[in-house]
Every structure is written in structure tokens, then in C-alpha cells.
């Protein structure tokens, strides 16, 4: 996924500007020459300068590189990436309610089915073993309080 430097440069420029404007609202530290705004200001200015440079170089090469080049990625691959992202987003959204075991199982199983183009049952088996092993290792051995959720009782280990 190649994005023209000019577009990214513009984004970096705006980001730098936003950082700079926000940093100007920080109050000075009494009696000190430099306050909490110093480093963000330097970062913001640096990002704006670099962003400008990228806009210029990207604009010069726009005929060669185009704006956004996604020709190397087939539609199926987009769905693969979407599946991976949705698995994480879904886990974040559902873990507190479903608990780690159920949310983790879905976040492992569904992308696996998508990546392997099928194999529903063997994927379910792999995902189930993975999630139960993690639940045992992290919750009961390493004592990480994984989200319990309201749907399942606590597993026996």
C-alpha cells in the first residue's frame, strides 16, 4: 500500500501544526526558563518542516508514483486484513461482557477461518486449544486478571 509522499507529508504537516497549537496552551512553569511546552513545540515545528519537504518531493514525483498505489493487493487480501483488524476491535469491544474465553475464541477462530479459506472445524479446535491454554497460563499461573465476563462460569483451573 503505497501512498504518495505529498499526501503523507500534508498529514504530517497538519499533525505538527496541531501539536504546536496545543502546546501553546500549556502554562509556563513559574521561575523556569523552559516549560512543558518546549519539547512539544520542537516536535511540532520539526514535523511541519519534514512534512513540507515530503509534500514538495511527493508533488515532484506524482506522475511517476501516482497518489495511492494498492494494485499489489487483491480484494481477498483486503478482507484478510479487515478480518485481523476486526478481531482486535471486536475483542476490545466484547471482552468485558463476554469474558476472555469467548471473546478470545471468536477473535482467534473467525480470522483463522478467513485466512485459511474454510477449515471451520479444525480452526475451531486450534482456536479453542489456544484460548484455553492462554486462559490457564495467564489467569491461573501468571495471575493476570483476564476479563471474566458475565456469560461463562470461571473455568476450573
Amino acid at each position: 500500500m503505497k501512498i504518495n509522499d505529498a499526501l503523507l507529508g500534508a498529514l504530517i504537516l497538519l499533525g505538527g501544526l496541531a501539536i504546536l497549537l496545543e502546546a501553546r496552551t500549556f502554562p509556563a512553569t513559574h521561575g523556569q526558563a523552559f516549560g512543558p511546552d518546549l519539547f512539544p513545540t520542537i516536535i511540532g515545528v520539526g514535523l511541519m518542516l519534514a512534512g513540507c519537504g515530503l509534500v514538495v518531493s511527493g508533488w515532484r514525483t506524482r506522475h511517476v508514483t501516482g497518489w495511492v498505489d494498492v494494485s499489489a493487493i487483491t480484494p481477498g487480501r483486503w478482507l484478510d486484513a479487515l478480518a485481523a483488524l476486526l478481531a482486535v476491535v471486536g475483542f476490545i469491544a466484547l471482552a468485558d461482557w463476554m469474558g476472555f474465553v469467548l471473546a478470545g475464541l471468536l477473535a482467534c477462530w473467525l480470522p483463522m477461518v478467513r485466512f485459511r479459506r474454510g477449515h471451520w472445524f479444525s480452526s475451531l479446535a486450534i482456536a479453542l486449544v489456544t484460548v484455553l491454554a492462554i486462559d490457564w497460563a495467564f489467569r491461573s499461573v501468571l495471575l493476570v486478571p483476564l476479563p471474566q465476563g458475565a456469560l461463562l462460569p470461571r473455568l476450573p483451573w
Binding site: M1, I19, F34, P36, L47, L143
Partner: protein
């Protein structure tokens, strides 16, 4: 001294620690041998597990994993022409052409033995340089630390691959992430967007898991790294593994020494790791060779140099990490995160308070590199089986481990959100030629630079010239400023030439 060494030996030669190293080594070999999974990713995946270990097994596990993973990257490089980790990319053409000539045993045997030698040299230099440098570092004040961290960032931005301006953006991005949260000097909340969770700042570990692991999964899913469904050409022949390899190494023994030394030196430089070490020593080897025209056609000489260099850089990278708390590469950036979590602030005081711990790390390096010989041999023999693990099943398992790891740091789902956001950003960055290592360094060193700057300015009452008043500070500062000037002059020249080219 001998007491400390004895204590360190008994710390490492504990059955539990050795078992951990063996398991970590097998894990490292597997991850390194899988195309698209890097040594840094292996370290990131180890993090949640190491949190609950004692310091010595935790560090020994990382040392063993990375030493194995860097070698294992040669396996798919030689047999499939897909480097298993970026550190094997420099010489992948030579290795693969050897395989096509039916000499994969030579390619892999040379790679394995050179990796072991390089790793041992790197470990030896680490064991001598770290204590010596720590003595010097005891005299450092906030002024020196400020310059040292700034020097590290400078190296990271300009030594990295790709265009310097992109390295610079990456660095600033990392520094920006480090400013998020309550400011340490004035207590001012910065860029928290009203979120209570962001008040405490962005924790390194979820950030690094996202930037290394999640971005890798995305890259795999979109198929932008080659070899999504690779098939093996030929199994390596065992009879070529030992004798022809030893003969080749004997012929190019200066190359082994050169690669090991260059690799260690590049490892010590902040921000440059095994991949850059391999590229540079491959180039040096070609330049010094009597037969440079043979490089890239299945010639073993470049393999010798860079095979030693990438493993040597691992030991080198621990030097600044242990002595100054400045990571030498992205692996040691994660190590520093782990050390902080364990309540050990990396720096010269570790040398005084817990010297046995440092010596244990050195010994672990030697043990790991010696273990590499038998384990690497087994890995060469069983690579075909490893490759049968379907990647489509492996990636979701990696993803779920990442989520649990990011969760386990503060036991909140917020860590998983940080992991996701930074993973997507790192993916877009790498796809467009922005190196990720400078961002990691910025993230790790950002608060160190700012804290040392502010403390120095309180001491010096706002007088900036104080940064050049102490001789050591002036020296490190002078070098850093000189690099900036050189880069600026170079950029202006290039820009002028480019402008001249367009108008004229």
C-alpha cells in the same frame, strides 16, 4: 569479582534457567524460520511471559531467543529465497543460488558456524566493554545523559534505512508519543484528549507489541511480504553441513573476524541492529574481496562476513542498553522496557548494585551461542516440517497472544487499544518507507531526554551554554551537533542538485 562471577555462574547454570533457555531457543528458531516473523517479534511475544519470571531467566530467555532467531532467518533465505528475518536479507541471493547449485548444506552450515562465532565475539566484547564503560558512566551527570540520549536519537534517525527525512519524521513521532501524559516536571497533562487512561502516558510494551507484531500480521494478511504460501525446493544435504563449511570459513577467516567486529560495532550504535549490520558487512566484504564480481552469484564469502555480523550485533546492542539505558536496537528497546518493569533502572548503578546480574547476562550470551550449534543443526534438518505449519492458523494465534500481552501490562483493555492504533500506524509507516526503529527509540528515550534537559536547566538556571561546560558533555555534544550539521549540509546540497536538475 570472582565471587560475583561465581554467583553469576550459579544463576545461569541452574536447571530451571537452562531449561528456559532451551525452550526459548526452540521458540526463537521457529519464529526466525517463519518468513515474515522477526527476532524482534519473537522478543515482543516473550514479554508477557517474562514479566512473571525472575530477572535472570527472563533476560536469558530473550538472549537465547534472539540468537537463534537471527540464525534461523537464514533457513528460508537459503531454501526459499525469502529471508526469515530482515537480518538475513543482505545475502539471500548468494545463499539461494548456492541452494540452486545443490549446495544448500554449505550455505546453511557456513551460516550456522559463522553465526556462532559472531555471537561469541559479540558476547566477549559485551563482557569487556560494558563494565569498562560503566566506570566512565558513573561520572555522568544529567548534561552527559542528555547528550548521550540525543546522540542515540541522531544515530537512529540517520543510520536507519531509507531517506533521512523519513527517519526524522519517525523519530519525532516516537518523541511525540513519549510526551503524552502528565508532564514530569510541571505536572501539566499533555495531549491526553481528556482521557484518564492517557494521563499515565503510553506504556512502551503495548506500543512495541503493536508496532512490531500487529503491523507484521497486517503485512502478512495484505500479502506485501513475499512468501505467503511458499514451497520448499530441496532439503539440505547433511554431508555438506560440516566439512565444506569449515573449509570455506577457514579460507575466509579474516571475513569472519571483520564481520564479527563490524557487527558488534553497529550493534552498539543506538538504533541500528542486525539487519543494518548484515548489509554493511556484506558491502565491506564485497569491497575488500579479491573476487567482488562473484558476489550475488552464489559466492560464500559474503555469507561468512554478514552471517557473523548479524549475530555479533545482538551482543553489541546490549552494551549501551545495560550501561546507559539507551537501546542499541529494537530488541534491546524491549529489554529496557522489561528491566524497568522489574524495577531495575538500566544504567551504571546496576553494575554496582547487582553486578552478578550483568555477568549472568554475559554468561547467558555464551551459553546461548554454544546452544545454537546443536539446535541450529536440528533446525536445518527439520525446516521442512516447520514450514508445514499453516501460516493462516499461526497468525490468529499470534494476534491473540499479542492482545493478552498488551492487556497484561496494566490489566486493562486500554493497552490493547494502544497496541491496535500504533500497529496500524507502524504498518502504514513501513509500507511507505518510514523506518520504525527511530520511532521506538524516540518513545524509549523521549522522557529521558526531556527529564535530563529540564533538570540540567534547573541546575544551570536556564543557561544553555552549560551543556558544553563539562568536558565529557562538550565532547558528546560536539559530535552530535557535528552530525546534525553534516546531515543538514548534505540535504541542502542534494536539494540544490535536485532543484538544478528540474529547472536546468
Amino acid at each position: 569479582m570472582s565471587d560475583t562471577l561465581g554467583a553469576a555462574f550459579s544463576l545461569v547454570f541452574d536447571p530451571h534457567v537452562l531449561l528456559v533457555m532451551l525452550a526459548a531457543g526452540a521458540f526463537g528458531l521457529f519464529v526466525g524460520a517463519m518468513p515474515g516473523l522477526t527476532a524482534t517479534l519473537a522478543t515482543a511475544l516473550l514479554v508477557p511471559v517474562t514479566f512473571f519470571m525472575d530477572p535472570v531467566p527472563a533476560l536469558a530467555a530473550i538472549v537465547a531467543t534472539t540468537a537463534m532467531a537471527i540464525f534461523a532467518g537464514d533457513l528460508p533465505g537459503a531454501l526459499l529465497r525469502i529471508p526469515g528475518t530482515p537480518a538475513s536479507a543482505a545475502y539471500v541471493d548468494d545463499a539461494y543460488r548456492l541452494t540452486l547449485q545443490g549446495r544448500s548444506g554449505l550455505a546453511l552450515g557456513t551460516g550456522l558456524i559463522c553465526s556462532v562465532i559472531g555471537g561469541l565475539v559479540g558476547a566477549a566484547i559485551l563482557a569487556f566493554a560494558a563494565p569498562a564503560l560503566a566506570e566512565v558512566a558513573l561520572a555522568f551527570s544529567t548534561f552527559e545523559y542528555f547528550w548521550l540520549a540525543t546522540f542515540g536519537l541522531t544515530c537512529a534517525a540517520f543510520v536507519s534505512t531509507g531517506r533521512p527525512v523519513k527517519g526524522f519524521v519517525s523519530l519525532l513521532f516516537g518523541l511525540f508519543i513519549a510526551t503524552i501524559g502528565i508532564d514530569i516536571m510541571a505536572g501539566q497533562p499533555r495531549f491526553t484528549l481528556g482521557s484518564v487512561e492517557l494521563m499515565g502516558g503510553v506504556s512502551f510494551i503495548p506500543a512495541m507489541i503493536g508496532m512490531f507484531a500487529v503491523s507484521e500480521v497486517l503485512r502478512w494478511a495484505l500479502g506485501t511480504t513475499g512468501g505467503r504460501d511458499a514451497a520448499l525446493v530441496a532439503q539440505p544435504q547433511a554431508r555438506e553441513l560440516v566439512r565444506p563449511s569449515l573449509r570455506a570459513i577457514g579460507r575466509y577467516r579474516t571475513g569472519v573476524a571483520r564481520g564479527s567486529l563490524i557487527g558488534t560495532a553497529i550493534g552498539i550504535l543506538p538504533g541500528a541492529g542486525a539487519d543494518i549490520a548484515a548489509w554493511i558487512s556484506y558491502a565491506v566484504s564485497k569491497k575488500m574481496s579479491n573476487t567482488p564480481e562473484k558476489f550475488g552469484t552464489g559466492h560464500v564469502e559474503g555469507l561468512v562476513d554478514s552471517g557473523a555480523a548479524n549475530n555479533a550485533s545482538l551482543g553489541g546492542a546490549w552494551v549501551p542498553a545495560l550501561v546507559f539505558g539507551i537501546p542499541g536496537d529494537s530488541i534491546t528497546a524491549i529489554v529496557i522496557g522489561i528491566l524497568y518493569m522489574k524495577g531495575m533502572n538500566p544504567g551504571p548503578m546496576v553494575m554496582i548494585n547487582q553486578p552478578e546480574l550483568l555477568y549472568a547476562v554475559f554468561i547467558a550470551f555464551f551459553v546461548a551461542n554454544l546452544l545454537l550449534l546443536p539446535l541450529g543443526w536440528l533446525a536445518i534438518r527439520s525446516f521442512g516440517q516447520m514450514l508445514r505449519v499453516p501460516r493462516g492458523a499461526l497468525m490468529p494465534v499470534i494476534l491473540i497472544l499479542c492482545m493478552v500481552g498488551a492487556f497484561a501490562i496494566n490489566n486493562t483493555l486500554f493497552g490493547v487499544i494502544i497496541m491496535l492504533v500504533l500497529g496500524v500506524i507502524a504498518f502504514v509507516m513501513e509500507e511507505n518507507g518510514f523506518p520504525v526503529a527511530p520511532a521506538i527509540l524516540g518513545l524509549v528515550l523521549g522522557s529521558m531526554i526531556e527529564r535530563n534537559f529540564m533538570q540540567s536547566m534547573i541546575k544551570a538556571d536556564g543557561n544553555l551554554l552549560a551543556f558544553f561546560e563539562r568536558p565529557l558533555a562538550a565532547a558528546i555534544g560536539g559530535v552530535t551537533v557535528a552530525i546534525w550539521l553534516l546531515v543538514a549540509v548534505g540535504a541542502v546540497r542534494r536539494w540544490r542538485r535536485a532543484a538544478g536538475g528540474v529547472t536546468g
